[in-house]
């Protein structure tokens, strides 16, 4: 990485598209087809991704797996420590998850705490047959013993860098931003 350039775009639209197609095929291969599959995106980044994967699976197999979305805010482990509470979004699971093969979908896998929260949430909703994890980017720095079953791309990052995922159709990108410039939230 050029130290003078604080942000680097790692994936462009054609690459993101190829990666998602590969992931959809991997999900189908591992589950021997679309039967019983249920995609659940973690809000917000995972929701469009879950829909894209459902679209792709439908185009490959002619059957569209249900796609839902989870807002894991209420299950986070850092809520009581924060001064400002995050906005709540509505989760929606269109069908019962009992006995289904759930694929949790998120854009970036980082510490693993969001995934932990999502699993706790799912277990309160019902009893899935199994839970798998699909992420577009695995950036490392896990703080919990969690690993993804389907990874779009492994991107080694520094702990304080930020990974920005844009999934606007036709303009998909994954960019890593170094804190000096990129910390818009500071």
């Amino acid at each position: 990485m050029n130290p003078a350039d604080p942000s680097r775009q790692l994936l462009d639209p054609p690459r993101v598209d190829r990666i998602l197609r590969r992931m959809a095929h991997e999900i189908l291969e591992k589950n021997q087809g679309p039967a019983g599959l249920y995609l659940v995106g973690i809000l917000q980044g995972g929701e469009p991704l879950a829909k894209r994967l459902a679209d792709l699976i439908e185009s490959f197999e002619g059957i569209r797996p249900p796609a839902g979305a989870l807002d894991v805010t209420l299950y986070r482990d850092d809520l009581s420590g924060r001064e400002a509470l995050p906005l709540l979004r509505q989760s929606h699971l269109p069908l019962s998850i009992d006995g289904k093969k759930i694929v949790l979908v998120d854009d970036v896998l980082f510490t693993g705490r969001t995934v932990r929260a999502a699993m706790d949430f799912l277990v309160d909703f019902g009893r899935p047959a199994r839970i798998m994890l699909a992420v577009l980017v695995d950036r490392g720095h896990r703080e919990l013993p969690i690993r993804a079953d389907f990874v779009g791309k492994n991107i080694p990052t520094a702990h304080d860098e930020r990974v920005l995922v844009d999934l606007a159709p036709g303009a998909e990108s994954v960019t890593v931003v170094r804190p000096s410039q990129g910390d818009l939230h500071a």
């Binding site: 973690i42 209420l74 986070r76 924060r82 400002a84 509470l85 509505q90 705490r113 309160d124 939230h185």
Partner: protein
């Protein structure tokens, strides 16, 4: 772990919910939106979320209550808080302990929040001045009952899709009604047109300065209304000289199927409960109108969950309502 939430909180929610007075439209809508998310918790197979785990809420009810107390209790339990119900008849209050001493004792026991209902107006504020923990007004005398008004607003929004611009007729004992007072504040903050329908003896003084139109006839008052909110006639008022007799009150101000069908066929009918059958609402059968009284109970739990979450979910008394930009980026 880097902070990934945009630190752009709305003005502090404040440590307490004592009144809807001065509460902005933005704040009220924030509470109603949060309640929407909590409504789903009731659909889960495990009807609990872990947001208030390890926190203790004390329901301190000096007046009898079934629905408000159990609604707060269920709301707190769905948020995984521990709940203790203190009723004066079984407590040291019968030995003459003052309100101030009682709440300080409760706080010393480790309460993180107190829901107080008391017959004296201003009791919630009195308590809030004396304790460090969160205080929610569960109804104080003839003053306010903010969570009831919030759940009424939530019910109206669910049934009609909006609150702004709707005509809401509040029928009955306005004078003694804390529910009416909180509702008038909330409804006017959200831009509803408010009508009060009551005999002159049951209207408070200074009503001409409120943002309301007053009607003394039921048929005119509810004519074309989108929402008809019946208030409970506190039966002890009948003996207080405010109304000639229950029968006459019921004849003039009781909601019946006929009068609703004729004058407000589209109206959603609300009632804070408990209903005096045959007084405010006549007949055993419910109307063709959309009677939302049982929905109100369900929505009440979600609204109280939202209130408790917003007050007690964050860190201590600093808790505030953040509404923007929680962009989750693979935490």
């Amino acid at each position: 772990m880097p902070e990934r939430l945009m630190p752009t909180p709305l003005p502090a929610f404040g440590p307490h919910l004592l009144s809807l007075s001065g509460m902005t439209q933005e704040r009220i809508v924030g509470i109603l939106d949060a309640a929407e998310a909590f409504l789903d918790v009731g659909q889960q197979s495990v009807k609990k979320v872990p947001v208030l785990r390890g926190k203790t809420l004390v329901n301190l009810f000096y007046e009898s209550s079934t629905r408000t107390r159990s609604s707060f209790e269920i709301a707190a339990k769905r948020l995984s808080a521990d709940v203790i119900n203190v009723t004066p008849s079984q407590s040291s209050v019968t030995k003459g302990e003052s309100l101030s001493d009682t709440v300080k004792t409760i706080e010393a026991l480790g309460a993180d929040g107190i829901v107080i209902r008391h017959a004296s107006s201003g009791a919630a504020e009195f308590v809030a001045e004396r304790v460090e923990c969160h205080v929610v007004n569960g109804g104080d005398g003839c003053h306010e009952h903010p969570t009831q008004a919030l759940l009424d607003l939530f019910t109206i929004r669910k049934k009609k899709g909006r609150v702004a611009g709707l005509t809401v007729a509040i029928v009955g004992d306005i004078l003694h009604s804390r529910v009416a007072r909180s509702n008038i504040l909330g409804l006017s903050a959200l831009g509803a047109k408010i009508r009060l329908v009551a005999p002159p003896t049951l209207l408070p003084r200074g009503i001409d300065r409120w943002p309301v139109t007053v009607y003394d006839r039921l048929d005119r008052g509810i004519d074309g209304a989108d929402v008809v909110m019946a208030l409970r006639l506190q039966l002890e008022r009948a003996s207080g000289g405010y109304i000639p007799s229950l029968a006459e009150y019921s004849r003039l101000y009781g909601l019946s199927r006929e009068v609703l069908e004729r004058h407000a066929p589209q109206a959603v009918v609300l009632h804070p409960g408990p209903v005096n059958r045959g007084v405010e609402i006549s007949g055993e059968e419910l109307f063709c109108n959309d009677v939302a009284i049982l929905d109100q109970v369900e929505y009440g739990v979600a609204v109280r969950m939202a209130v408790l979450y917003l007050l007690m979910g964050g860190r201590g008394e600093e808790s505030s309502l953040l509404a923007a930009g929680s962009r989750g980026e693979g935490l």
